[in-house]
């Protein structure tokens, strides 16, 4: 691949931006659940996305990893079904369920055929409302989690993200791996797992979207059956994180040929009036595919890396401006120097009119292209709800990008870009780089 996989977002014509035409219905079920629906009957299946806010950060401090283990167990037996009964029933219906957890969410994605949708939904309900947490399933999934934790101990990518989180977030749940530690996972009991289930899967924190072959009349009862029996209230959401961004470099020595660096400074809140200016500014600095300043300076001109990028990280309890680069041990010091220079240059000199115009053309042109396919649209729709955005955001978003002016973006660069607190964490055996943070 020419570009990094995870950057896949990636003169002749001035593009007239498309407008996304996605018609979202806001549905309230008879039982009082709110959901967003996009009807499209061209393919006989529906994609359902369910997000519970809170996620692994709801773990109690003495049961770190409980939410992760709980989510791994949702498909491992429910109601009168063992793990194997459940899996066979799901495969018989050719339904697809996936369960995931992040710092801020528990996510459930489902694809269900129209021909057996009610049976598939009943099965999904069992896994969400009546998981069994059988002892043998707990031990099996615990073994998988421990195996992953063991691997992470000597994986440079895991090492860098763990050191980064620990340094910046400290005692906040974001500061430790959501999987827990070997010790904490060993110590988790069935009660911890059941408690995590009660805390995380609640009606008050759920967001739902459905896209595909289903009507509002059909969706309401389906969702009431699916989620209506969950408790209304759960655990309190975590407090905001205090960010520790001292500037400088934290070194984590590890024997591997290529050093991996993660870096961060303070970010920008989603509802900040400067958010869109910062978003466009980041696109010019280190976002997108092949056009950013960081890619141009670090990769294209100097060949120092295969991948370098930055983005605005918007977690529920913390906003960061983060990035990453990987370079051979004898070249990473130069890569970091170039990144620091670019950080200072964009603050001091701002961006050009042409850069701003190109960034807007890209961002407004690329936005409507995202809405391809039921599953993808469902993910975007539920993500918007998590961000507190209204349905008409899709229609208005490009106008908000267009509204960013050169004066505003360069003021935001002055005010927000902060080379002094830009903090690096480096895993590897870098040459000519001094760790200034202990």
């Amino acid at each position: 691949m020419k570009h990094l996989l995870f950057l896949s977002l990636a003169l002749m014509l001035a593009a007239a931006p498309l407008h996304a035409e996605i018609e979202i219905d806001e549905v309230t079920t008879p039982g009082g659940l709110d959901a967003w629906l996009v009807e499209d009957h061209s393919i006989p299946f529906v994609a359902l996305e369910i997000r519970f806010r809170g996620g692994a950060s709801l773990d109690s401090s003495d049961a770190r990893g409980a939410t992760n283990l709980m989510v791994g167990l949702l498909e491992e037996g429910a109601d009168d079904m063992t793990a194997q009964d459940f899996a066979r029933a799901r495969d018989t219906l050719a339904a697809k369920f996936s369960y995931d957890v992040s710092d801020d969410t528990v996510s459930i994605s489902a694809q269900m055929l129209t021909e057996n949708r009610d049976e598939a939904a009943a099965l999904l309900r069992a896994s969400l409302v009546a998981p069994r947490f059988d002892d043998d399933a707990i031990e099996r999934v615990r073994g998988q989690v421990l195996s992953g934790l063991r691997s992470a101990q000597t994986d440079p990518r895991d090492l860098v993200s763990r050191a980064f989180d620990r340094l910046i977030f400290g005692d906040h749940p974001y500061g430790s791996p959501l999987e827990g530690t070997m010790d904490s996972v060993e110590g988790l009991t069935r009660e911890d797992i059941a408690a995590a289930h009660r805390a995380a899967l609640t009606r008050e924190h759920v967001h739902i979207s459905a896209v595909g072959d289903i009507t509002a009349e059909e969706l309401g009862p389906l969702l009431d059956d699916l989620l209506g029996d969950l408790p209304q209230e759960g655990a309190q959401l975590p407090a905001r994180a205090d960010l520790n961004l001292p500037g400088g470099v934290l070194m984590e020595p590890f024997e591997t040929p290529q050093s991996i660096a993660a870096f961060a400074q303070a970010g920008v809140e989603r509802d900040d009036p400067d958010f869109f200016a910062a978003y466009v500014l980041n696109h010019i600095l280190g976002g997108g595919g092949f056009e950013s300043r960081l890619v141009t300076e670090v990769r294209v001109k100097r060949g120092l890396t295969y991948g370098v990028y930055s983005y605005l990280s918007d977690k529920d309890a913390a906003q960061l401006w983060v990035g990453s680069v990987s370079s051979a041990n004898d070249r990473v010091a130069e890569a970091i120097r170039v990144i620091r220079d670019e950080w200072a240059r964009i603050r001091d000199d701002g961006v050009t009119e042409e850069e701003l115009r190109d960034a807007k053309t890209y961002l407004t042109g690329a936005y409507p292209l995202q809405f391809e396919g039921n599953s993808q649209i469902a993910r975007i729709a539920v993500g918007m709800q998590m961000d507190g955005l209204p349905v008409d955001y899709i229609a208005n978003r490009n106008d908000m990008v267009e509204a960013v002016t050169l004066e505003q973006i360069n003021r935001v660069a002055q005010d927000r870009v902060d080379p002094e607190t830009l903090t690096f964490v480096v895993v590897g055996q870098p040459e000519g780089l001094d760790g200034s943070i202990n």
Partner: protein
């Protein structure tokens, strides 16, 4: 929960794609007069188009000693033409709200853009331009070589699993170039240069060695008109070399390898057998092998999962893979990640026991029915992803298959019987033609 291991093995089929059933409606195929094949996949749900050009050339077609040149050229294709400056291709795509990228496998090299449907003319014009007008500056070539060395560092040198896969493939193939990594050996990448890249380009990049795949909000007529305008004017290369690679001799001896690396904390054992690939007009054996891999290691209700994880509790992860879309002989592979306290030898014995027993008993008829139901459902789910369908056609057509073969595949999968699965297992799962690899931590020295 993050399932910890699957990605290690999914990456083994780096940039090659899983085979599955799909719907053949909305697919149109034709050929331009200069021999360029065209496939159009219509999906008008969003005003978007995926435009791809696939060349029937990959890493396995490289000259000896120049490993990585196919992938290096892929990078250099973004470095300018007679009319486009270095990097301008991607920046024009970006200024039109699109994204672009490329990828290389053993059997193909492909370039694609995803963009608003009304910009198809623009990207097609640029893609046609770089099919015959590539211009490379020496300095750009040298810098980009550093980039691919860093890419190798990132993908391979920093990852013991990736190093293990390289060593395993090299052990698997005595004579066929599939034993050489797509990205190239590090010492050979260092020696790649502008002349080698241009020579490879001139030999292999031509319309009669390419397949155009367009998926999205388009009609076959529009695509045909644009393709004739942009690609139809490029002359065919009459000297295109035949695609013949050195083939494997019969494997007479079981092979074993062991990689120890300080960065390994969770060991595992991998078993691979040489296996026939999908051949045009003769895909039945491959269909049986596809189902064999699914029955044995394709998810929660697979035989390996039930036996080793649930009943015997000796594994934390198991899996089986068969990559049938391949120009030459491929493999069927198994992996067992042992539970804590279980040795790799014990894990391997347990795997062998399951395989031996399976050849005797065959698949559970209910499991086979469930798998076939899931394969039928995939034909529905896959229609949601036109770009995915585009990749499937491109990979198949660069691997010796035809549009008809791709469209016949779902029915062939449905027709596979339990007896055929057992027969395929008996033919392929032969210890004499196996490669067994262990990845583990260094021995502790006192």
């Amino acid at each position: 929960m993050r399932k910890p291991f699957l990605w290690l093995f999914v990456l083994a089929a780096w940039l090659s794609l899983p085979v599955a059933a799909f719907a053949s409606e909305n697919v149109t195929a034709f050929q331009l007069e200069n021999g360029m094949d065209v496939v159009v996949i219509e999906d008008d749900r969003a005003p978007v188009v995926t435009h791809m050009v696939w060349y029937r050339v990959g890493a396995a077609d490289e000259p000896a000693g120049q490993s990585g040149i196919a992938h290096f050229l892929e990078h250099l294709m973004f470095k300018g033409t007679e009319t486009l400056a270095p990097g301008e291709f991607s920046s024009v795509v970006a200024r039109n709200g699109g994204s672009d990228n490329a990828f290389t496998s053993q059997d193909y090299t492909a370039y694609f853009q995803r963009i608003a449907a009304d910009r198809l003319d623009l990207v097609m014009g640029m893609e046609a331009d770089r099919m015959s007008n590539l211009r490379l500056a020496e300095a750009d070539v040298r810098t980009e070589r550093d980039v691919i060395l860093e890419e190798r560092n990132q993908r391979v040198e920093n990852s013991p699993s990736a190093l293990f896969r390289e060593q395993k493939s090299a052990t698997q193939y005595l004579n066929h170039p599939y034993g050489i990594p797509i990205i190239g050996w590090q010492h050979e990448i260092r020696e790649l240069d502008r002349e080698a890249a241009l020579s490879f380009y001139e030999t292999h990049y031509a319309p009669n060695n390419a397949i155009l795949v367009v998926a999205g909000d388009v009609t076959p007529d529009t695509v045909r008109a644009l393709a004739e305008k942009h690609y139809g004017v490029i002359e065919a290369n009459p000297d295109l070399p035949p695609r013949t690679r050195p083939q494997e001799p019969p494997q007479l001896a079981e092979r074993r390898l062991m990689l120890r690396d300080g960065r390994v904390s969770q060991p595992y054992v991998n078993r691979a057998y040489l296996a026939p690939e999908r051949d045009s007009g003769a895909q039945q054996e491959a269909a049986a092998l596809h189902l064999l891999a699914q029955v044995l290691g394709g998810g929660q209700t697979s035989v390996l999962n039930e036996r080793l994880q649930i009943e015997q509790k000796i594994a934390v992860q198991t899996g089986a893979w068969y990559s049938g879309t391949s120009l030459d002989q491929t493999t069927i592979e198994f992996v067992v990640v042992p539970a804590a306290g279980v040795t790799l030898a014990e894990a391997e014995d347990a795997l062998d026991e399951v395989l031996t027993e399976f050849v005797e008993t065959g698949p559970d008829p209910e499991q086979l029915d469930r798998l076939k139901m899931q394969l039928r459902a995939e034909e529905i789910y896959d229609r949601d992803d036109a770009s995915g369908l585009a990749r499937r056609y491109g990979a198949a057509l660069t691997s010796g298959l035809t549009v008809e073969d791709v469209q016949a595949w779902p029915d062939l999968l449905q027709d596979v019987t339990a007896e055929e699965i057992v027969a395929a297992a008996k033919r392929v799962l032969d210890h004499q033609s196996s490669v067994t690899g262990q990845l583990l931590a260094p021995e502790v020295t006192q």
